[in-house]
C-alpha cells in the first residue's frame, strides 16, 4: 500500500485545519486580490518595475563545475538569473489567526521549492530568491492563511501577536503599518513591512469575523476557542513524542 502522509494527529477542527494547510494536495482558498506591484510595494525590497538586483552572474554565464547534484536539481528562475535572497515576514495573532509561525514553516517547506522558512516565537520569516519570493508572497497573502486583522506583514518591530486586540479587533502594531477603514470596513496597508510610508494605501480586504476565524484557526486557545486539552488524540501524541524523546536519551526503546 502506498504511503499516505497524515501530517498530524488530532480530532479537533484546529487539528483538521493544520492537516489541511500542510497537505500540498489541498489548494489554499483565494480570499483577496493583490496585484504584483502591491506585493512588491508591501515588501519594499525594490521599486516596482525596477530590474532585479543580482548577487551573482546568471548561472548560464557562471561556468558551473560538473556536478551530478546540479544536474539533478533544476534551479529556480531567481537562482538562474542570480537574484538576491530577500524575505517576507508574518506575525500571527494568538487570537484565532488562520495560521501560526510553526505551521507556516511546515507548509512553506512542503509546498514550495527553494525557500528557507524560519520560525520565531511570534513571527515567521521566509527567504527565497527575489522573483520567486514575490510569487510565493502573493500566494500567501491572497490565500486563506492570511487575515487582514489578525496577520501582519512585518519585517521589523513585530511585537503584538500575544497582546489584546484593539477596539476594531485588529492586532497591535507599534508602527501602524495597517489601518482599519471604518467606512469600507476593510484594512489598508499604509506602510511597507519595515515601516516606510507607502505612496498610496494597499487594500487587503476585510478581516474575517469571529465565527470564521474560530472555525479556520490553527491555534488552540482555551479562552474562547478549542482547548488543547479537549483534543485527547493530540495530547496523547504530543505526550508520546515527548516521552520517547526523553527516554531515548537513556535507552532507545519504549
Amino acid at each position: 500500500m502506498a504511503y499516505k502522509p497524515q501530517f498530524g494527529p488530532g480530532t479537533s477542527s484546529v487539528a483538521e485545519n493544520r492537516r489541511k494547510q500542510m497537505n500540498p494536495g489541498y489548494k489554499l482558498k483565494k480570499m483577496r486580490d493583490i496585484s504584483d506591484e502591491e506585493v512588491v510595494l508591501l515588501m519594499g525590497h525594490r521599486a516596482p518595475g525596477a530590474a532585479y538586483p543580482t548577487a551573482h552572474p546568471p548561472l548560464a554565464e557562471a561556468g558551473e563545475p560538473k556536478c551530478p547534484v546540479r544536474k539533478l536539481v533544476t534551479p529556480l528562475d531567481g537562482a538562474k538569473a542570480g537574484d538576491r535572497v530577500r524575505y517576507i515576514q508574518f506575525a500571527d495573532s494568538m487570537w484565532f489567526a488562520p495560521c501560526h509561525p510553526y505551521l507556516r514553516s511546515y507548509l512553506e517547506a512542503i509546498r514550495y521549492r527553494g525557500v528557507d522558512p524560519g520560525t520565531l516565537s511570534g513571527r515567521q520569516i521566509v527567504e527565497c530568491r527575489e522573483r520567486d519570493l514575490e510569487k510565493i508572497a502573493k500566494e500567501l497573502v491572497e490565500s486563506e492563511i492570511f487575515d487582514a486583522g489578525r496577520t501582519g506583514i512585518r519585517g521589523a518591530t513585530v511585537h503584538g501577536h500575544s497582546l489584546r486586540l484593539d477596539e476594531n479587533g485588529m492586532m497591535f502594531d507599534m508602527l501602524a503599518r495597517y489601518v482599519y477603514d471604518p467606512k469600507a470596513k476593510t484594512v489598508k496597508y499604509v506602510k511597507n513591512q519595515i515601516g516606510e510610508p507607502l505612496d498610496k494605501p494597499i487594500d487587503v480586504g476585510k478581516s474575517g469575523d469571529d465565527k470564521w476565524l474560530k472555525a479556520n484557526t490553527t491555534i488552540f486557545n482555551s479562552n474562547g476557542g478549542v482547548a488543547f486539552r479537549s483534543d485527547t488524540e493530540y495530547v496523547e501524541w504530543v505526550q508520546r513524542v515527548h516521552s520517547l524523546r526523553t527516554k531515548y536519551g537513556f535507552m532507545p526503546m519504549e
Binding site: 519585517g155 521589523a156 503584538g160 484593539d166 507599534m174
Partner: protein
Amino acid sequence: MTEAEYPQVRIVPERLLFPITVERLLTAIVATGGVRRMSLNGPRLPAVVPYGPARGVENPHYARRKIRVGDQDVLLEVQVGTVVLELEDASYIPRIREACESVFTEFPFTIQEGRFMKTRMTVTDYAKYGPDMDKDLLGLTEPGKKGRLIIIQGGK
C-alpha cells in the same frame, strides 16, 4: 510612624484602547474626584521607527495622540491597555466602576483591587532622583522615561 496606605485599583479592558476612549474614560474617572495618582500602561508607540532598516523614520501612529484630561493635555505614548489608580479611599471604587461601565459598552472589563504601584525605591530610582526622591513619584516612573509627570488640577 506608619505611612498611610491608599487603596489602588487596576482597570483592565478586554481590548487595547483608542485615544478617544481613553479620553472619555479618564474624563469620567477624574470627575469622580477621588484619584490621587494615575498611571497608563500599554505597549509603547515610538515617535520614530526604533529599529530595522527604517530606523529613524518618522512613525505616525493613530494611537499616539494628545488627549484632554481635566485641565491638561496629555500625549499618549502608549496604546493604553491598563489604567492603574491610587484613590483617596475605598469609597470611590463603586464610582470608578460606574465610570468604566459608562465607557466600556462594547466589550467587558475587570477592576482589580490590590497594590499595583511600587512602594520602595529601586536602584534606578535612586540613581535618577537621589536619596530624597518624592514618594509620590514612586510607581509612576520608568527608567527610560524622559518627560515629566502631568498634574491634573481641579479634581475636587
